[in-house]
Symmetry: none
Subunit: 220 residues, 4 copies
DNA sequence: GATGAATGAGTGTTCATTCAT
DNA sequence: CATGAATGAACACTCATTCAT
């Protein structure tokens, strides 16, 4: 009953987190019971408590980790960009890539906030605000630079975020649309939303100047 | 221990539904227990079962009722409109009015679908599809009529719906923005999303033709 | 699975208390598990919670009830007595009768205080202080009246109480000594403790005055 | 992860015993868990098992050790005394000194007997009987020598022991009474209990013979 | 000897549901 | 229709104990 050979605690922990995310995604945090979670990673219930001392705490740590990773990834993907439009389009790409590649994480990151205690909520919400703040800064910078005009910066930020995040409610990797196609569509919607002339479709763009802009942007 | 004077069964049922919606909104369906629900309407647990024979069934009936009402209200509010733009703007107004006036209902209508059994889900999802279909028809009609051009009808529909529904995650009746202001902002965002030139602000509208169009629209 | 015919909640509660006292007496509060307790009164575990919502609270209520009864019984048994010696001897009789008739209750009343939360402890300890206070008042009154002389009122009170309560650690109803014999012995010990000449044994009492006093007292 | 420098196995064992006694004293044996105990002595739970292979056995060894030490100390303190009164007063002093200096040990020595298995209980109870037997012998010798008269030797022994042991339930080193004062008071109570005329207070002793006796005795 | 990890048998508690009254 | 009581199936969590490293 001691420790089996060749098993490290860190590996087990990773497996538990993964299994938990999957279960929470499918049935919700309340509906996830620790016996099943233990079974997922081939542990007996009692053993799980060496890694997960508290279900409630565990949820918080999970959401915190997700948000921290999201923010860190965002920062690294935005590094070096300055032009607001480039940043906006890069943000859209990043958001969609992250939210489709890590559909489960982002879904529970949005849905399970209400299962947190107030103190835990505060901490996670703070990180969400940071993410939102990043997008708002982009929109504000573009407005200041005269690239676009917004009726209400805050509302537009929230609206754009809702629009993008909504993807995770219906996206399926094996669906009709490739991820690249999805990104292209949502970039156009985003540009429309901030009041930019939609970048022309490849075949329908008459104006050369616009085309080159579009090309530059697609590279982002 | 019979029924107290002056209380009708229908009143009790209404009170139960209301209390349930509030509890589900705040903590989720799984976290709502029937003892507390009974207490909310001054009943003992046993008595609740005269009105709510099955928790699971109850959720389904709640969601069905919400969706049915939503669809019925939508139909009545859209009656007589033909012009796609008018219909689109009316849809936005309707959606926001409903989703702010009945924030709790719409929130759980979106969140608690996963707590349904597959059969129940099917039935409620069908109604959501109808609602989504209504919007898609508007967008399709406008495109057909040459009022706007969409890259992808389905995606735009879902995107617009996400954008609008997102309001319910942050809207507060006592917030910074009046409901009318909110509607105005979201109408502009919607118009941008479908590729219409944003209707000018009151003070900034130079072209008479556009003004009259806007006026007509505001009346919707 | 509803309520069986002819079963009242009060009866069940009484049975639960009795069974709990017996179990706590035999194995201690921590060692009493609610599954076994339920079985003692022919209930399933879940049903027990209709009567005992909280193990910890239950212990407190048990100890409070025991102490309240003890105090009430004491008051009624001391009613009408004024002479300190009579009161002292009556107290001894009362204490022994109660502590032998209700050996289990008094045992846990002394032993399980440490299983209480601080707040619960406070409340029960208050009642113990009252009981102790009653004895102290008797001893003080006798001293004031010149019936006996004590080195230290407080210590003597505690010492006498320890002496009397100690009985419950070894007393057995089927033991060598009848209860009446026990009471006689402890009355003599008590009288010695406060410095009274021990009342003479029946056959060994030479002084008439003392005999009549003893007779009076035995009647107490 | 070997043993830290400067720590011997015997030291660790001593620390564990001490920590265990403290925990058992405060919350009882059942409520002491080995994880906390390990933490008290800066060990991880697994390491504790190198020293304490069995919780139940550990309790027995603890109680046995306490009783053995008690008996050994008693013997050494009573060595050379013959006069029953001197022995009785010495016993009182010894008992109080031990039970105040080692309040925790004696408390659990009395309270945790019921947590022992029957076999363990037998062994520890045997030692308690020896202690009790020691006192009984003193009382019997005094009675035989005509120093005092007892109604019932066994009951008086138990009563005196209860009276003395009771101190440990309320004694506090920082309390109102010095230990010496306590011993003086309890010696007088003891003398009264066996029917000796209470030794007079310093200022109130009229009879020289008694004074000298008292002086002799105080030296015990 | 110290440690991290695993394990099984509990342990108090919750909860939807049933039913005689 | 209201109520108190009963029930079984969970559930999160605890804990003494074991053992490879």
């Amino acid at each position: 009953m001691g420790r089996p050979a060749g098993v490290s605690g860190a590996d087990t922990m990773r497996a538990i987190r993964k299994a938990a995310i999957s279960r929470i995604y499918r049935h919700g945090f309340e509906a996830m019971n620790l016996r099943d979670l233990a079974a997922d990673v081939n542990l007996r219930l009692g053993s799980l408590y060496n890694h997960v001392p508290q279900k409630q705490e565990f949820l918080a740590s999970l959401l915190e980790a997700i948000m921290s990773e999201l923010l860190a990834d965002l920062d690294s993907r935005m590094a070096g960009l300055h032009d607001p439009l480039e940043r906006l389009l890069r943000f859209v790409r990043f958001h969609i890539e992250w939210h489709t590649a890590r559909k489960e994480e982002t879904f529970i990151g949005n849905m399970e906030l209400r299962s947190l205690t107030p103190a835990q909520y505060e901490s996670v919400a703070e990180k969400r605000k940071q993410y939102e703040g990043h997008l708002r800064a982009i929109l504000a910078d573009g407005a200041k630079a005269g690239l676009w005009r917004l009726d209400d910066l805050h509302v537009t930020t929230l609206a754009l975020l809702s629009l993008l995040t909504g993807i995770s409610t219906w996206y399926r990797a094996d669906g009709r649309l490739s991820q690249e196609r999805l990104i292209r569509i949502y970039r156009r919607l985003t540009q429309r939303l901030v009041g930019l002339p939609a970048p022309a479709r490849k075949s329908a763009t008459p104006v050369a100047r616009k085309r080159s802009a579009a090309r530059k942007v697609r590279a982002a």
